[in-house]
């Protein structure tokens, strides 16, 4: 039936005119009646009087007509929203607490959602991003690598017919010289098809095209907008200028627009350069664009065999690989996936490879649940305070449905207000999370943006919380038999409502306990990590990468490094200096295959991390030398090959016997007697704080000297900052062109490694404390309400001889029961939920007793205190006052 909605719409928008029409209609009726009476012989006055008398209650008739006409849904809604806002404005404290509670729950979840949205869901700002695909290698053991060997990329590029474009890129840090001074800048080296395949246009100048990606041509670079702004003050004349990248002259040919970041939101480069800048690109990230109409299945059908062919073509170059490694390499499979959202290192790190984001979702989900329960509790307490109002409304004819609807509308209004404030919290939380996850905000393009996704999510969250927390209280309020409330006999009731409030509180206690246990586990794990024995001394150890390759004055490398070590060691504030190929807490060394002779005479091969170290390295980093000697200046190119191994190495390969003088080799089968072990050092962590000591060996740096940067390790006497400045000055005094890179103390490195753990500890603590606070407020509110309700009863009890302690205990008992029930539910739930955290915890299990005791004690303590305050008030009630209060 069409006329009904139309009628209602008209009723809504033309309410005034409809009322006037009704008025006119009814007055016309009276006029007819008057005329009728006049015609039947009455005087005009008498006729008018009788007609009016007959038509008693004109207003009431009008009212009934309006009812008959039906009040529109929207009209009621507007009315209810207005009424709700008035009620909320009247009770400010309640409203503020409720909105903040909701805003917290909604905000935390929206923040996570918006981070995931930007990391996982938001399409790349390029032409038809849904046509992009990424290439991933799947190893036989199921592990995935997101890059391909350069030669494989070339093979795919030359032979594919299903792609309209394919490109490779790799991220690098290079020394940039533009004008005076040099600095490190983040360069993405891209193959020639990068810009054309993405279909993006520059803001200024032109982009790199396939002709630019050739080793024999002059090199070109394209600047990113943020870098152009930061470094060149948005000077358009920089296009055409020459800069030196790692000493190679390059022409700036263009600047990209502000919203272009490449294909990885988590790596915003300063500039793009041709891949040809690199003589040997190694492994590269590869993306392609499907030809229009080509399905992903068709693409896979062609590209997978091409990938296999490409791997096979590499077989000849792998002669000296151990057989199983070669087999594993050749058995790799290609995965072709859609890359609409680009390829993001953070996505792999936090979504595909780990549970980080999932755990954060779990935590914020708990916060949301607690918010809902807390709000439900607040609403129950408040509707109890509104019994009188609701009673009157029921008495004058509002149906329970009407009351329910009005209360629910009010709660939804509240939830929407909470959602709006929640968006503000989400924007802040988003920034905080991205800072935790990505480290440097300047290097990522993961900004909070209030787009349709985020708005829809927070709206859905608001409605969900509004319904979750509002339906039950509204239902109960509307269903109550409220006549006693109108009569003012409020003490008669109240008991009916409390069992439900108690259930809500119990739930809240249980949920809070889960968060507190999580917080405790993360905090203790972080402390364990921060104080774990590294096997080396972490105080005042300074690291830097030094690269002399651009310096024309360095002719003899050995001479240079010797001189550098000596000059730095004599600086005031520097105790000792040494060199290494890989820094401590760098990559954890490089893997190398070694051959050892077994007691039965057979040769055995194994893959072990190794590093090269200069003279005095172990003394400098203070890894204890257990026996033998460490490397000295005498270990050089033409001296007998030697090695230092750690205890784990000795344990694994020499049955924990003293391996001094024993031998192993790293030059393929038959080399097992090449290298003599001259020293054994203690086990130290080298790559990661969580690792168990691994077998590792060291070779003398000067026996294997290469043309490459080395890591300088310096142990300073006091303040590292002064020493760092002095070291930098000293090196630059040797030659301006020596690049010093990545200057840091080992404590800074460890701080960075713990970023992730700190994030969990911080967020879980904040959420845990908030949960504690909300639960305490909830307990306080319910108990205080209960005490007020029971003032008369308590008065009678005391008049009959109950002691203050009896009353105190009577009230406290309720609180303690709630806490005990909450803990009984919450503890098993917490332990079960904590299992998913296992991989994130260090040196403690998910059911760590100390954490559980601490969390329970904290919660019970805070809850008991919250219950004690109103209980004390109950105990101080004077019986006379209480009875007079009736």
């Amino acid at each position: 039936m069409l006329s009904d909605p139309l009628y209602r719409l008209r009723a809504l928008f033309r309410r005034k005119s409809m009322e006037a029409e009704l008025d006119e209609e009814l007055h016309a009726h009276v006029a007819y009646q008057v005329e009728k009476y006049i015609q039947s012989g009455l005087t005009r006055e008498e006729a008018a009087r009788r007609a009016r008398l007959e038509f008693r209650g004109l207003e009431q008739v009008k009212e009934e007509c309006c009812d008959a006409r039906g009040v529109s849904f929207v009209e009621t809604l507007i009315q209810d929203v207005r009424y709700g806002l008035r009620m909320l404005a009247r009770n400010r404290l309640f409203t503020i607490v409720a909105i903040l509670t909701l805003a917290l729950g909604i905000g935390a979840n929206t923040a996570i959602f918006s981070v995931m949205d930007v990391m996982l869901l938001r399409a790349l700002p390029v032409k038809n991003p849904q046509e992009l695909v990424e290439f991933i290698r799947l190893a036989p053991d199921g592990s995935m690598m997101t890059n391909l060997p350069y030669a494989v990329f070339q093979h795919l590029r030359e032979n594919t017919t299903v792609l309209s474009g394919i490109f490779a890129f790799m991220a690098d840090t290079r020394v940039l010289r533009a004008g005076v001074g040099s600095e490190h800048s983040r360069v993405h080296e891209v193959s020639g098809g990068f810009f054309s395949t993405l279909g993006v246009n520059p803001l200024l100048g032109r982009t790199i095209d396939p002709n630019d990606d050739r080793p024999d041509t002059e090199h070109q670079v394209v600047l990113s907008y943020p870098f152009w702004s930061r470094r060149f003050g948005r000077d358009p004349s920089v296009v055409g200028a020459t800069v030196r990248v790692s000493g190679i002259p390059c022409t700036v040919i263009g600047v990209m627009p502000p919203d272009f970041f490449g294909v990885d939101r988590s790596q915003l480069p300063d500039m793009w350069a041709p891949l040809a800048l690199d003589r040997d690109p190694g492994d590269v990230w590869v993306l392609g664009r499907l030809k229009p109409g080509v399905s992903i299945a068709q693409a896979r059908a062609q590209l997978e065999p091409l990938f296999k062919q490409a791997l096979e073509s590499l077989r000849d170059g792998m002669k000296d690989w151990p057989e199983h490694e070669r087999d594993d390499f050749l058995a790799q499979k290609l995965l072709v996936n859609r890359a609409t959202t680009g390829t993001s290192g953070l996505r792999w790190q936090y979504w595909e490879y780990s549970n980080t984001l999932k755990i954060l979702i779990g935590m914020t989900g708990l916060v949301l649940l607690i918010s809902c329960v807390n709000l439900a509790n607040l609403l129950m307490a408040r509707s109890a305070g509104r019994l009188h109002e609701i009673g009157i409304r029921l008495a004058i004819g509002a149906g329970p449905r009407r009351i329910f609807r009005q209360l629910l509308t009010e709660n939804l209004v509240l939830a929407l207000l909470g959602g709006v404030v929640g968006l503000l919290i989400a924007a802040g939380g988003h920034r905080l999370l991205v800072a935790f996850l990505a480290g440097d905000l300047q290097r990522v393009s993961l900004n909070f943006r209030l787009d349709g996704h985020v708005l829809a999510f927070s709206l859905a969250m608001s409605l969900l919380t509004g319904l979750l927390s509002g339906v039950l209280p509204a239902l109960r309020a509307a269903r109550e038999d409220l006549l006693p409330a109108v009569h003012g006999a409020s003490h008669l009731r109240g008991a009916t409502r409390l069992p439900f409030a108690r259930k809500l509180l119990t739930t809240q206690v249980a949920l809070s306990l889960m968060l507190l246990v999580g917080a405790g586990l993360f905090v203790r794990s972080l402390r364990n990590l921060a104080t774990t024995d590294l096997g080396l001394a972490r105080e005042n150890l300074v690291l830097m990468r030094v690269d002399p390759s651009l310096s024309s004055s360095v002719r003899d490398r050995r001479e240079f490094w010797m001189q550098l070590t000596e000059r730095l060691a004599t600086l005031p504030g520097v105790r000792s200096v040494s060199l290494a190929g890989d820094a401590v807490f760098g990559n954890g060394g490089w893997n190398e295959t070694i051959w050892t002779r077994q007691p039965d005479g057979a040769e055995h091969d194994a893959t072990v991390p190794f590093n090269v170290a200069g003279p005095g390295f172990f003394e400098t980093v203070q890894i204890p030398l257990l026996t033998g000697r460490e490397f000295g200046w005498q270990d050089r190119g033409n001296s007998p090959p030697v090695a230092v191994v750690n205890r784990a190495f000795a344990r694994k390969f020499f049955d924990d016997q003293n391996p001094l003088g024993k031998r192993f080799g790293n030059a393929g089968p038959g080399s097992s007697s090449q290298i003599e072990i001259v020293g054994i050092i203690g086990d130290a962590k080298y790559g990661d704080l969580r690792e168990q000591p691994q077998p590792m060996f060291y070779l003398p740096l000067f026996q294997h000297l290469e043309e490459r940067p080395y890591q300088v390790h310096a142990r300073t006497a006091g303040d590292s900052a002064t020493a760092i400045a002095a070291i930098r000055r000293e090196i630059q005094a040797m030659d301006q062109d020596i690049s010093i890179d990545n200057l840091r103390t080992i404590n800074q490195v460890i701080h960075g490694l713990l970023q992730h753990d700190r994030m969990f500890a911080f967020l879980a603590s904040v959420f845990g404390l908030l949960a504690l606070l909300l639960t305490s407020i909830g307990i306080y509110g319910v108990v205080a309400y209960q005490v007020t309700r029971r003032t008369g009863e308590i008065g009678i009890r005391m008049a009959l001889g109950a002691q203050r302690t009896d009353v105190l205990w009577m009230v406290m008992r309720e609180t303690l029961l709630v806490l005990a029930a909450g803990a009984a539910i919450g503890l098993p739930a917490a332990v079960a939920a904590a299992r998913v955290l296992r991989s994130l915890l260090f040196a403690l299990g998910p059911s760590d007793p100390a954490t559980i005791i601490w969390a329970t004690a904290t919660l019970v303590g805070a809850g008991a205190l919250a219950g004690f305050l109103p209980a004390r008030r109950a105990a101080s009630i004077s019986p006379m006052d209480a009875l007079r209060h009736e």
């Binding site: 039936m1 009814l26 016309a28 006029a31 008739v61 009934e64 007509c65 309006c66 009812d67």
Partner: protein
Amino acid sequence: MAGERIDLPQGTLDLLILRTVALGPQHGWAISERIQRVSSHVLRIQQGSLYPALHRLERRGWIKPKWGASENNRRAKYYELTRSGRKQLEAEESAWRKLTAAVGQVLETA
């Protein structure tokens, strides 16, 4: 006004109104006058129930209003039967006849 008055059973007012406007557009007063006259003053419609009923029927789309000039040149709101109103009238009429016949039968034979 002489004569015995009967309270209208629930729902019959709608039927009477529909039947009355089926003869042609009428305004509210005329409808009540006509029902009163035709029923020999047995049925008397209170304004308090007439107008809400008219608005209810209008909402259901069985009658539709039209403003026009009355015989004495007063602006009046005329109600006329719609197509769905006519169907409704037929349905209600036959239901009513069945009901009264059945009730009558029971009264006579019991």
